[in-house]
Amino acid sequence: MADRSLTRAVVRFATLLRRQSLPITPRQAIDAARGLEHLDLGDRQEVYVGLRTLLVTRPEEVAIFDRCFEAFWRMRTEADAVAEALAGPSPPGEAPEPPVDSQGARKERLELEGWGDEEEADEGGEPLGVPVASEAEALVTRDFSTFSADQLDELLRLTVQIARRLARRVSRRRRPVRRRGRLDLRRTLRANLTRGEIIELRYRQRKRRKVRLVLLCDVSGSMDLYSRFLLQFLFALQHVFARVETFTFSVHLTRVTDYLRARSYREVLRRLQDVRDWSGGTRIGESLAEFNRRWTHLVDRRTIVILLSDGWDTGDPEVLATELLRIKRRAGRVIWLNPLLGNPSYQPLTRGMAAALPLVDHFAAAHNLAALRELADRLHL
C-alpha cells in the first residue's frame, strides 16, 4: 500500500495533468502511485523519468507533462496557496460560453456563429443521415458562396454518402463467403466434422477495409466565401466517419480533429476560436512541410489526402511541389478540391496551383453539391 500522502500527491498531479488536457485514467494514476514505490523519491530525475513513463502515452504529450511536472515540483516545496493558484484557472474546454454577439469578434467568426445557432436549433435527435424531403436542382448547382445555412441537410446527406463509399476498401483480412475465394480449411473442417468426408467446401475472401481521410483545409482570406461551408463539410465528415484527421492551414497548420469532435456545431465554432490566423494569408508549401514533419505517420497507402484550397499561395511554389510530392509518395491518393474551378473562365494558373497540378491524382471543383457528388464517386481507392 502506498504512503497516503504520496497517493494524494499523485492524484493531485493527475488532476493537474487532466486540466492540461492529458486524459489520465484512474488506472494510470493508480499505477503511478504503485510505480513511485519502486523509485528513489529523493532523485528528482528518476521520479521525473518514472512518472513520464507511467503517465505520458505519446511524444506530443511530453511538453505538457514537462511543464506540469516542473510546476508541481515547485509547488510541492512551496506553500499550498501556489497549488491552489495553479489548479485554479479552468482549461479552455470548460470556459464559459461566450455570448453569440460578443464584441470584437471578427466578421467571419460572427457569421460562423450565427450559422451554428441554426444548426443547434434542429439538433433534436440524430443530426446526420436524416433524409430530406426533396432537393431542388437549383440547389445542387448553386455555388456555395451564395449558399444559405438552411440547405445544409442535403449537404449532410451527401456527406453520409461519401463516407459510405469510403468504407469500401478491400482489406488483407479475409471474411467467409459463399463461393469463390481461397479455401477456408478451418471452416471447411468444422462444417464436415460429422460427415467423415469433405463434402462441402468453405471459402473466404478479402474483407473490405476502411480508408482513412486526411483533410487539409485552407482557411485563408481568399477562401473566406467557402470556408464556412467547408468547415461544415469537415464537421459532418468527421461525424459519419471515424477515421478522419482534419487540419486547417493558412500561414500555419493546425490540427483541428479534436475540435471537430464536439457534439454540436456550435461548440465546434467556439473551440475553433482558439485556432489562430483564420482568414490570413496562405503559405501552402510551408503548411504542408509542417504537416510532413509532424504528422506523416497519419498517411499511408490506405489514406486519401484531400486538400481544399484555391491555390492562392504567397509562399514558395517549389516548397509546395516538394512537400506535396512527399505526401503523394506515401498516400493512396491525393485530391485537390478547388472551389474556383467551378467558374468556367477559371484557369489554374496561380503559381502554387501550377506547381501542384502535376502531382495531384484528382483535381476537382468543390463549389456546389453537384461537384461534391462527383467527388463521392472518386473516393474509392
Partner: protein, 295 residues
C-alpha cells in the same frame, strides 16, 4: 538513483546494450508493475534491442510476434493443423473408430499449432514477449491483443481454457506509421527513444565495433549528430551509424575525409534526394561543418 535501476543498467551494459536512465527506469517499472512497455522512436534507434537485451538479462526466452497488415488471431494465437488432421482421419478411415474418440484425438495438443501469443503463456518461466512494429497490424488486432493482455488466458473451445502461470513481460514497439489506439496506449508504460546524444552514440560505436580507432569513432559521432540536424527525408538511425562504422573500420580508416565519406555514403543516407542534397552541401562548404561540435 535506486539500486535496482542501477543494477538493470549494469545488466543491460553487460548484455552489450549502451543504455541511459530513462530506458533502465522504464524497464525497471515494467518489470515491477508487470505492465506492457510500449516503445516508440524513429527507425533504427534500438527499440527491438531492448526486448532482446531484457530476455538475455532475465535469462529467459524471447518470443517474437512480428506484426504485419492482416495479422489475425490464427497467425498470432493458435491454429489447428488442418492438413495433419485430414491426413490422420484418412489414415484411420478403415479402423472404424467411434466419432467422438476420433474427434478427441484430432483436437489435441499434437494437432495444435502454437503461435507466439499462445507460446508466450505456456512457458515454464516468464518469457519476454516482443510485439514488434505493432503499428503495422490493423486496429482489429490491437483490440484482440488488449483482450489477451488483460488476463493472460486463452480459451480453445476443443481443449479448454489455458491460463498463464508465468505471464510474459511484454514489449511493444512502434514506428508510428499509424497512430495506435488510445486504449492500447493507456494500458502500457510508454518510452520514447530518441536518437542518442554524441557521447552515447560514441559509446555505442566503441562497444559494438571493437577495434575502431578512437578518433574515427568520435568523428563518426559528430558527423551523425550534425547530419541529423539537416532536414532529411530519411534520417539515419543508430543502425546506420553502426553499419557505417563497421564499414569504415573494415577499410582501416582512422579519420573521416571527403572521399571516404562520399564513397561510403550509402551506409548512412538511403534516399536519393538526401544524397543529392548532402553532396551539394559538401561541395559548397566541405566536410568540416559536419565535424564540428554542436553549439
Amino acid at each position: 538513483m535506486r539500486e535496482e535501476i542501477r543494477k538493470i543498467q549494469a545488466l543491460m551494459e553487460a548484455a552489450e546494450y549502451v543504455t541511459d536512465a530513462p530506458v533502465a527506469t522504464s524497464v525497471h517499472l515494467a518489470l515491477n508493475l508487470r505492465k506492457p512497455l510500449l516503445i516508440e522512436g524513429h527507425a533504427g534507434v534500438g527499440k527491438t534491442e531492448v526486448a532482446k537485451v531484457m530476455a538475455r538479462m532475465l535469462e529467459t526466452n524471447l518470443i517474437r510476434l512480428q506484426c504485419y497488415e492482416g495479422l489475425d488471431a490464427a497467425a498470432a494465437l493458435y491454429e489447428w493443423n488442418y492438413q495433419k488432421q485430414l491426413l490422420h482421419i484418412k489414415l484411420h478411415e478403415t479402423a472404424h473408430r467411434a466419432v467422438d474418440q476420433e474427434e478427441h484425438e484430432i483436437f489435441s495438443e499434437p494437432f495444435l499449432l502454437k503461435r507466439p501469443l499462445l507460446q508466450a503463456i505456456t512457458q515454464e518461466q516468464s518469457p519476454v514477449l516482443l510485439v514488434d512494429e505493432v503499428d503495422r497490424a490493423d486496429e482489429e488486432f490491437e483490440a484482440f491483443m488488449l483482450e489477451i493482455f488483460s488476463d493472460w488466458q486463452v480459451t480453445i473451445p476443443e481443449i479448454g481454457t489455458i491460463k498463464a502461470t508465468h505471464p510474459p513481460h511484454v514489449i511493444l514497439t512502434s514506428n508510428r506509421t499509424r497512430e495506435l489506439s488510445d486504449a492500447l496506449r493507456r494500458r502500457c508504460l510508454y518510452l520514447w527513444i530518441d536518437y542518442p546524444g554524441f557521447e552515447k552514440e560514441v559509446a555505442i560505436v566503441e562497444r559494438k565495433v571493437p577495434g575502431i580507432n578512437a578518433r574515427l569513432a568520435r568523428e563518426v559521432g559528430r558527423f551523425m549528430e550534425s547530419l541529423r540536424r539537416v532536414r532529411l527525408a530519411k534520417v539515419p538511425g543508430v543502425a546506420e551509424t553502426l553499419d557505417w562504422a563497421t564499414a569504415l573500420a573494415g577499410l582501416h580508416a582512422d579519420h573521416l575525409d571527403e572521399t571516404l565519406v562520399t564513397e561510403t555514403l550509402g551506409c548512412v543516407l538511403k534516399d536519393a534526394d538526401d544524397i543529392k542534397r548532402f553532396r551539394a552541401e559538401v561541395s559548397k562548404g566541405g566536410l568540416s561543418p559536419f565535424l564540428q561540435a554542436s553549439s
